[in-house]
Amino acid sequence: MQTEMSLWSYANPTRFMATTRPLLPWLSALAAACLVVGLVWGFFFTPDDYRQGSTVKIIYLHVPSALMAINAWFMMLVASLIWLIRRHHVSALAAKAAAPVGVTMTLVALVTGAVWGSPMWGTWWAWDPRLTSFLILFLFYLGYMALWAAIEDPDTAADLTSVLCLVGSVFAVLSRYAVNFWNQGLHQGASLSLDKEENVADVFYIPLLVCIAGFVLLFVALVLARTRTEIRARRLHALQLRERMA
């Protein structure tokens, strides 16, 4: 086992720290570059849509943030499963680190979605099925983070939040379906989001791809940085317990 370098060896905290330290500056720089290029391109150098006018520029924030809001939860689900099955501490801490990033992405998606919809709906908030689903996802994130914060023992917290993440994922999918059922087709949900790509011309599509890449890189860089902090905090916690004992 020692001779064979498996993927799991990166789950060792010390190894994880050593591996990610040189990676982080590059990732951060790349994320910043993609975001600046994509957003400047989108904001300054793309034409207005003939129907939606300049609001089409919101697409460069809304679509990537919405994607990352869901993917962050999905990453937490995978990390929780790895913790429950293989007991890798880094995995549990990565899930904890991803939640605040996911909740921010959800907020960005909510805010930009509401702002984008406002000219069409005539109000700042409408109970559009997609937006409502993101609001529910936001509540799931809040509950998950609150449970982490409430439990003192880190391993117990990791166990219970992982179970919550699993059950929450099932109910999040169920809620998405239920919300569609609850408010079907009252708003033009489909014209708001990713489905639009099909009829979006290349002038919008290419800067959008750059922005998506930027958000993915930003997410990875932030989660790595936050996981490093969580590992340090965990070590600090262990040291403080020992200090109190001695």
Partner: protein
């Protein structure tokens, strides 16, 4: 398992508090609504199914933190965990007892409270049916939340924050059944979905609850 259930029901009835309290809370919520939105039947009747479902849901929430907390305080939870019954069975029995002492009485009381809100006649039956089918899911989800927070000192508020988002599908389908019932519309699909949510909760949540309990007991 039956024995755990009947003991919990007996305890709730004997102690008085938990049993009557959620019913009284439900009544108060329903009585307060007209003060908030006005007394006209034209305003009250359309929102009555939603209000009654919401009131029942909040009343369910009220007694959740007692589901495991009392047993933890007096050591019974430790003894149940070491007894020759699976913890999944304990979880199911606890949820069953919670439903018998809150969900069931709430479902039976709801049609009478619906009169106060001017719900049209065919709606009463369907309101009771939707609550009877949906409230078991509320008890099961709530028991899961209670298992997550049983070891915490200030678990009550956190419990609500964890459980309420999980209640969304049940509330949507349940209130939809009640609304369609009141308007005389076809209600097959939402009723089937509501039943499916409850059935799924019965089948899967006791395992999650037991897993959370094992961790909380450590």
């Amino acid at each position: 398992m039956i024995r755990i259930l009947s003991r919990d029901v007996a305890l709730a009835v004997r102690a008085g508090g938990g049993f009557g309290l959620s019913l009284a809370f439900f009544l108060i919520v329903v009585v307060l609504v007209p003060f908030g939105v006005g007394p006209e039947t034209a305003v009250l009747a359309p929102i009555a199914p939603g209000i009654l479902w919401l009131g029942a849901l909040l009343a369910c929430l009220l007694s959740l933190d007692r589901v495991f907390a009392l047993d933890r305080e007096d050591g019974a939870l430790d003894l149940l965990a070491t007894a020759p019954v699976p913890l999944e069975g304990v979880a199911l029995a606890k949820a069953g007892a919670h439903w018998l002492t809150t969900g069931l009485p709430l479902s039976l009381a709801a049609p009478f409270l619906a009169v106060l809100l001017g719900l049209p006649a065919p709606g009463h039956l369907w309101l009771a049916v939707s609550l009877l089918v949906g409230t078991p899911a509320l008890s099961l989800i709530g028991t899961f939340g209670a298992a997550l927070t049983v070891g915490l000192k200030r678990g009550g508020l956190l419990l609500s924050l964890l459980v309420l988002p999980l209640y969304v599908p049940t509330l949507i389908f349940g209130a939809d059944v009640a609304r369609r019932g009141a308007e005389g519309l076809a209600l097959g699909p939402p009723l089937a979905l509501l039943g499916a949510v409850t059935a799924g909760c019965v089948a899967l949540l006791p395992f999650a609850t037991a897993a959370a309990l094992r961790v909380s007991l450590r």
